[in-house]
């Protein structure tokens, strides 16, 4: 392909991304160095917003909550996704049906799924799960006003809508494991558990890593489900980083757009750092291909 042809094919996409992603990003970078309100020109304040962000205990709590949620959910997704993938992969003609059912939680908008979860758990809304938990434990769990129960339902909801993705990617990985390897393990008399642990899991390490990095990036951006599931997130200490940005930069009158933008910039730096191994791989491959 000639260079001119390449540029002609790529230009529309580059223009769209340049105009609608790079330009806004530039604005965010500018705002992060200013004290600013919507619709007004900001005043340059240097790194003051970054200082304010890093010393704000509320942001510290938000980071703690988000990172905790990310670690717990990612671990659950890898383990649960693997077990589910192994079970579903062994199915025959019923596989499309099971996959269809399991995909439902993936296609429902997160804010709507969160609302559905809240009705399942809240005693005020005839929550059936809440009713069962109360019957079994004899205790009334306050799912929306007690920090830990609230964290549990947020985590459950996040696992609920991300599990299909993890399962499908792992199924793809399982189908790539060479049959001879499994046969060799069987001939050597390896048990099922041993085969999974020493043969299958090492050979799909790359796929599991991919699931982990995508899950981490997506859960770091947790926002939608909290709107429905944790109306008192700020008081409970269950505010995610994204919700913090929304609250300081948009909700509370847009007074602290600079602060929110500074947090955005910090988050972008963190994400680029996490993506670095992938970036290096792409750079190497694209040059050779």
């Amino acid at each position: 392909m000639r260079r001119r042809e390449f540029l002609a094919l790529v230009t529309p996409s580059v223009l769209v991304m340049g105009g609608l992603l790079v330009l806004p990003l530039h604005r965010t970078l500018e705002w992060s160095l200013e004290r600013v309100n919507y619709g007004e020109a900001g005043t340059f304040v240097g790194l003051a917003n970054y200082g304010a962000a890093l010393s704000d205990p509320r942001l510290g709590q938000a980071v703690l909550f988000t990172v905790g949620l990310t670690l717990a959910v990612t671990a659950a997704l890898i383990v649960g996704g693997y077990l589910l993938a192994v079970m579903v992969n062994g199915l025959g003609r019923s596989k499309p049906w099971v996959l269809g059912i399991l995909l439902i939680s993936y296609v429902i908008p997160h804010v709507v799924g969160g609302a559905m979860f809240s009705w399942l758990f809240d005693a005020n809304f005839g929550g059936v799960v809440n009713h069962l938990v109360t019957l079994v434990t004899g205790q009334d769990v306050l799912w929306f006003t007690d920090p830990w129960p609230n964290r549990v339902i947020v985590a459950l909801n996040t696992i609920w809508f991300m599990l299909p993705f993890a399962m499908l990617v792992i199924i793809a990985g399982l189908q790539g494991v060479p049959g001879e390897l499994l046969e060799a393990a069987r001939i050597d008399g390896a048990s099922a558990v041993r085969t999974h642990w020493s043969v299958i899991i090492p050979s799909i390490r790359g796929v599991l890593g991919f699931v982990a990095i995508i899950s981490i990036m997506d859960i770091l951006r947790t926002f939608d489900q909290l709107v429905a599931l944790s109306p008192q997130a700020v008081q409970l200490g269950n505010e995610s980083i994204m919700l913090y940005i929304f609250n300081v930069a948009f909700q509370d009158g847009g007074q602290q757009l600079g602060l929110g933008s500074a947090v955005n910039v910090l988050l972008i730096l963190l994400i680029v750092l996490m993506l670095f191994p992938f970036i290096r791989g792409i750079a190497k491959e694209a040059r050779q291909a």
């Binding site: 094919l9 996409s13 990003l25 997160h110 709507v112 799924g113 399942l120 005839g126 970036i279 694209a286």
Partner: protein, 297 residues
């Protein structure tokens, strides 16, 4: 369950005759166990949807009772009220317009770019692909908050056009990666053969690639449509009333009085049912898309 055994049977024949009947019986037992677990998992995954479906078909006075009511006279009052007392119809149309507009635009813009990126090695491609990867992972607010400001000063705030444009840009990185991975599986020899026959690059894309890419384009289209359909954050910030989408509407109904909450549930069901049907029909493509997306992992 019988289906599971069919699949298991040939595998039991394949290995050499080391272990006769015993493992076979154990396999059967574990098959039932796996089947049982899967039924439970499926049921647990469906339960929020099922409970919502029950809640919105109950009469309002028993819908939110604690302890919950399991037997009732089903009614569609909540749906009728939703339709008559809110602008749900308008919100649904908005959601569809945004999803369709952004899907078509993202494909028209993304296809040529993805084709070029799959055929032109070098540092420009590497830089563009890395940029796309980073853009995919961006915190959404870092582009959407400035878009709010820009759309207000351009006077396009609260229009479906602004939301669709934002979503085209936001979903562009993902669709480019997905389509590029599909293109990469088509052998380059086809391009060369077409060029010998006198086809230009655009001709190849139009006459050879797009027909071959049918399933890939469908898969990418389904994903972009789905993401646009699900989007809450962008739509919430870029709309006020006239361009409001269904997820935003449902979120604003939360924390209201009970009849309104039941209407929100009805709206959730009306939004969910078509998507669920869609998931069943398009299941093959969703699986293919997630697989192709992971090829680069």
């Amino acid at each position: 369950m019988s289906v599971v055994q069919e699949k298991a049977a040939p595998a039991a024949v394949a290995p050499p005759a080391t272990a006769p009947p015993r493992p076979k019986r154990r396999r059967k037992g574990s098959t039932y166990l796996v089947g049982g677990i899967l039924v439970l998992v499926c049921w647990a995954m469906l339960s929020p949807v099922l409970w919502t479906a029950m809640t919105v078909t109950k009469p309002t006075d028993v819908a939110f009772l604690d302890p919950p009511v399991f037997f009732y006279e089903p009614t569609l009052t909540a749906f009728v009220d939703l339709w008559q007392t809110t602008l749900f119809y308008q919100y649904l149309i908005n959601t569809l317009i945004v999803a369709l507009l952004s899907t078509v635009a993202a494909l028209v813009i993304g296809l040529p770019a993805a084709y070029a990126l799959s055929r032109f090695p070098g540092w420009i491609s590497a830089v563009l692909l890395i940029a796309a990867l980073v853009f995919r992972a961006l915190p959404r607010f870092s582009v959407v908050l400035p878009m709010y400001d820009i759309s207000r000063s351009l006077g396009i705030y609260d229009t479906t056009f602004a939301v669709a444009a934002a979503l085209v840009a936001i979903n562009q990185p993902f669709s480019i990666w997905l389509l590029r991975n599909f293109f990469a599986e088509i052998p380059k020899e086809l391009d060369e053969a077409a060029m010998i026959d006198g086809c230009s690059r655009f001709g190849i894309l139009r006459r050879v690639m797009i027909p071959l890419m049918g399933p890939g384009i469908l898969t990418a289209g389904i994903f972009i449509f789905l993401f646009a359909f699900q989007e809450y954050l962008t739509a919430n910030i870029l709309t006020d009333v006239s361009a409001r989408t269904v997820p935003v509407f449902i979120a604003t109904q939360l924390g209201q009085t009970l009849p309104m909450l039941q209407q929100a549930g009805a709206a959730a069901m009306l939004l969910t049912l078509p998507v669920v049907a869609f998931a069943f029909i398009a299941q093959r493509y969703l699986v293919a898309g997630l697989n192709a997306g992971s090829v680069k992992g």
